[in-house]
């Protein structure tokens, strides 16, 4: 199988260049379905083989961090999902679009591999419908994959991000749970998104609160919103000071807060933020020439992304007809 190595904190890790199992996320597909569409668009442009499995269920990571699912249940759900991945003929590399999926299913896998008796217990339950977790599934986050394909993607790019300044926000559950496994950079200063931006000719911005959590807190975003608003205000103010053209995010939960909160917080902040927000896959698809509405799905965004897209479309590097 084709693969490449990317640096992590100590040494490097292998990222496969083909054969993906698209591990969908409940919150991403609920709020930003354009990210899924963009990722499919990217895989097709790269000519990668991928599986999208209707049988895959939620990883239940949202419920897990919102304290409403017992650990045992979470692990067994994952054992079933892993068995689906392992049953694939070729596409055995799970690609998570959401950092919480990544953190949660990786934690479950570590648990199942570490405690043979727990694995047996989970397997006993899923054996009732003829499934078994063997321990072969591999887990990656989609940003790592895009980073691994950077050279090919640069060649495929229709537009460049020349002269554009992009602030980035990495998901805590990608950078901080498996903190020694962060592809490029480390948990204190993750740069995988900045590298994606730089690859297309843009500039990744540094700002004070770069590693501050978005304040989602799972339960907080649902019922304890003072917390979320306060963290968000701090984050957005620090970001706004660097005058970014775009805010690039990795996680659907962060996208929700960073995009949806900009307008309601205007009064409290005493300034207008108006920073367009895109996800890694959406930006990459856009640069590859995807349709902003039909593929990137900009209508699902609160802050208008069109001004940024117009700036990008001025930087044409290649004459390619727009693909829908």
């Amino acid at each position: 199988m084709k693969q490449t190595r990317v640096p992590i904190l100590h040494g490097d890790k292998e990222i496969p260049l083909d054969n993906y199992y698209f591990f969908r996320s409940c919150i991403m597909s609920t709020l930003f379905p354009g990210v899924d569409c963009s990722l499919r668009f990217i895989f097709e442009k790269l000519g990668c083989s991928y599986t999208e499995d209707p049988k895959q269920t939620c990883c239940s990571g949202f419920n897990y961090h919102a304290d409403i699912i017992p650990w045992e249940t979470n692990v067994t759900i994952q054992a079933r999902n892993f068995s689906l991945i392992e049953n694939e003929e070729k596409n055995k590399n799970a690609i998570c679009v959401c950092p919480t999926s990544y953190g949660n299913i990786k934690e479950c896998q570590e648990h199942l591999d570490h405690y043979p008796e727990e694995k047996e217990k989970a397997n006993k339950i899923i054996a009732k419908f003829g499934k078994e977790y063997k321990g072969e599934a591999k887990i990656y986050h989609a940003t790592e994959v895009i980073y691994a394909h950077r050279e090919k993607l640069k060649k495929l790019a229709t537009y460049s991000l020349d002269g554009l300044k992009v602030a980035t926000h990495h998901g805590c559950h990608y950078t901080k749970i498996f903190y020694s496994d962060v592809a490029t950079g480390d948990w204190e200063y993750p740069i995988v998104l900045d590298k994606i931006v730089e690859n297309f000719g843009g500039e990744g911005l540094d700002y004070n609160e770069k590693t501050l959590c978005c304040g989602m807190g799972f339960r907080h975003t649902l019922i304890n919103r003072d917390y979320t608003r306060t963290v968000m205000l701090r984050k957005l103010k620090s970001m706004k000071a660097t005058k970014p053209d775009l805010l690039l995010v990795q996680c659907p939960g962060c996208s929700l807060n960073l995009d949806y909160y900009q307008k309601p917080l205007t009064k409290l902040a005493g300034e207008e933020f108006n920073i367009p927000v895109l996800n890694y896959a959406q930006l990459t698809a856009l640069v590859l020439g995807a349709d902003p509405v039909k593929v990137v799905g900009i209508k699902t965004h609160n802050v208008d992304v069109m001004p940024f897209i117009e700036k990008v479309q001025k930087n044409k590097v290649k004459e390619v007809a727009q693909v829908g």
Binding site: R24, C26, I27, S29, T30, P33, C37, P54, K55, T57, C58, S60, G61, N63, H65, A66, D67, I68, I69, P70, W71, E72, T73, T76, I77, R80, H111, E118, K128, F129, K131, H173, T175, K176, I177, Y179, W187, T211, L212, C213, G215, G217, F218, R219, L222, I223, N224, R225, Y227, T230, V231, Y260, Y261, K263, P264, K294, G297, K299, T300, N302
Partner: protein, 233 residues
């Protein structure tokens, strides 16, 4: 004499450690208990890194100390454990391999089993129900009915067109997916939920009569939710 006194002190501290371990048995037995759970040296790196500590009087260092002193029950009854934002900055920075955020998750879980924490998660039955019936924790209908008002006019107006926007992108309007999950897979998922502690945990909310009332107070209308619930029961 001095030597005997020293020895007595040592034995005393060992005994103290034993009682401490006894009171923390539930946490130590949890498979998620971090390797460095008993290694905290009270350096407060976690507090300095914690977004919740900036906002509340939330203090993970203090909570670890309270645990070692045997105040588990007090912590489980209190509000403090519910202030953590689950960002895990404490875990990535802890010099002793501890994970205060993870320990807090275990505490919340214990608190719910004891019945104290149920009021703190009024949304629980909605999301539990959602996973049980749709195979997804979150879906567009939950978001629309309960949570969108928070984000103001633009978001509300956008969500009025959300079903159309989703269709344009090839997605189902009320389900998070492009195509529905096969009934076979839902049966498998329900089998897992029924065989593990999920149903018991759920009944815990139901039994205490907390969730349903709080839910309605908090979220107002969940029309789709009530009849379906009744049907299942």
């Amino acid at each position: 004499m001095a030597e005997i006194k020293l020895l007595e002190e040592k034995v005393g501290s060992i005994r103290k450690k034993e009682t401490m371990l006894e009171s923390l048995k539930e946490i130590l037995d949890d498979p998620r208990c971090p390797d460095g759970f008993l290694e905290c040296m009270q350096c407060a790196t976690c507090v300095a890194s914690c977004p919740a500590a900036r906002i509340y009087e939330f203090n993970p260092r203090e909570m670890m100390r309270q645990l070692y002193e045997g105040n588990l029950e007090e912590l489980l009854k209190g509000d403090r454990i519910w202030e953590c934002g689950q960002c895990y900055t404490c875990m990535s920075r802890c010099p002793r391999g501890n994970n205060p955020g993870g320990v807090i998750m275990i505490l919340r879980y214990l608190s719910c089993w004891r019945g104290h924490g149920l009021k703190k998660i009024p949304y629980a039955t909605v999301l539990m129900w959602n996973l049980y019936t749709k195979g997804y924790s979150l879906s567009p209908d939950v978001f629309w009915d309960g949570f969108i008002d928070e984000f103001g006019e633009t978001a509300v107006n956008m969500w009025k067109n959300m079903k159309e926007i989703r269709k344009e992108l090839g997605y189902l309007p009320d389900d998070a997916r492009m195509e529905p999950i096969p009934e076979e897979s839902m049966k498998e998922l329900r089998a897992i939920l029924d065989e593990t502690l999920y149903r018991k945990y759920w009944d815990n909310f139901e039994k205490n009569g907390v969730a349903m009332k709080d839910l309605l107070d908090h979220l107002g209308s969940f029309d789709y939710y009530k009849p379906a619930w009744k049907e299942e029961k």
